[in-house]
């Protein structure tokens, strides 16, 4: 059974890697959020695999998956709120044009 666990963990790791690449390389706020979503998806895969193969008797694992899904939704809501405000104020949500956010 360790085989399935390893397969799931490798998938989670690769998803996380793609997400890190996307979050760092994209210039648009919405695209960066998509990268973050992929990182969280990788985390979700790992969490479910850990719950299923290591601790199926403890439902705190599934609980944590629900919390991560909440985080995904919250990230979307706040991100889009910031994006709208930024777009209204500056006319773009490009990172290259957001140098004024540097301290």
């Amino acid at each position: 059974m360790t085989l399935v666990l390893i397969v799931a963990l490798v998938t989670g790791a690769i998803l996380c890697g793609i997400g890190v690449y996307g979050a760092l390389s994209q210039t648009n706020l919405v695209m960066i959020m998509m990268g973050v979503e992929l990182i969280l998806a990788g985390a979700l895969v790992n969490l479910v695999a850990f719950w299923r193969f290591l601790h199926p008797e403890s439902y705190s694992g599934q609980m944590f998956v629900l919390v991560v899904m909440t985080v995904m939704a919250v990230e979307m809501a706040v991100g889009f709120g910031v994006a709208i405000a930024r777009f209204r104020a500056k006319g773009s949500v490009e990172m290259e044009e957001a140098g004024d956010l540097k301290g």
């Binding site: 085989l3 390389s25 959020m33």
Partner: protein, 178 residues
């Protein structure tokens, strides 16, 4: 066991494939929907790992979430159709390095760590739903309620941030924002 490994691997490959498409395509709607199908494949992985409730929930939530992502992409990107061939990336080499390092470290750990005994039998799906409900409204109730309050706070905060600011100078000619 091999059947399960096969299905987890197939859906995993689908998730990775769509995940790559997200950053490879220049059409923004395609990008958002590729992310959606990547997340759906992740949900199918949950189903393959006999975690029925979470899998169905993931598949349900992501459909709406990523479709909303799609319309925001179209609103905020300079070139949503991807017909203009604009390059929307920066610091590519560093990003690829960071991505490879992140994935590589996690994979190495996955192979090296001693995971101990692995359980073969998953609880029955109906039992899982019941036990998760008991967990949510029992021991983890406080966490669950906190998550709910967090969503409420985020909704209010996002709305407050997104509502246009009314300055006294031009509030007279901005009545249509009402």
């Amino acid at each position: 066991m091999y059947a399960q490994a096969f299905f987890v691997a197939v859906f995993g490959l689908a998730a990775i494939g769509f995940g790559v498409v997200v950053f490879r395509t220049s059409s923004m709607v395609r990008s958002a929907l590729a992310l959606l199908f990547s997340q759906t494949a992740v949900g199918c992985m949950f189903l393959a790992m006999q975690t029925e409730f979470l899998g169905v929930l993931q598949i349900m939530m992501m459909a709406t979430e990523m479709s909303i992502m799609a319309i925001f992409m179209v609103m905020f990107m300079m070139d949503p159709g991807g017909m203009g061939g604009m390059d929307m990336t920066h610091q590519k080499r560093f990003s690829i390095g960071a991505g490879v390092v992140a994935a590589g470290v996690a994979i190495v750990v996955a192979f090296w760590a001693d995971w101990g005994p692995v359980t073969a039998e998953a609880p029955d799906a109906a039992m899982q739903t019941r036990a998760l409900g008991m967990e949510l409204l029992g021991r983890s109730m406080l966490i669950f309620e906190t998550a709910g309050i967090t969503i409420l706070t985020a909704m209010i905060a996002a709305t407050a941030v997104a509502i246009p600011v009314q300055t006294t100078a031009n509030s007279a000619d901005k009545e249509d924002t009402e």
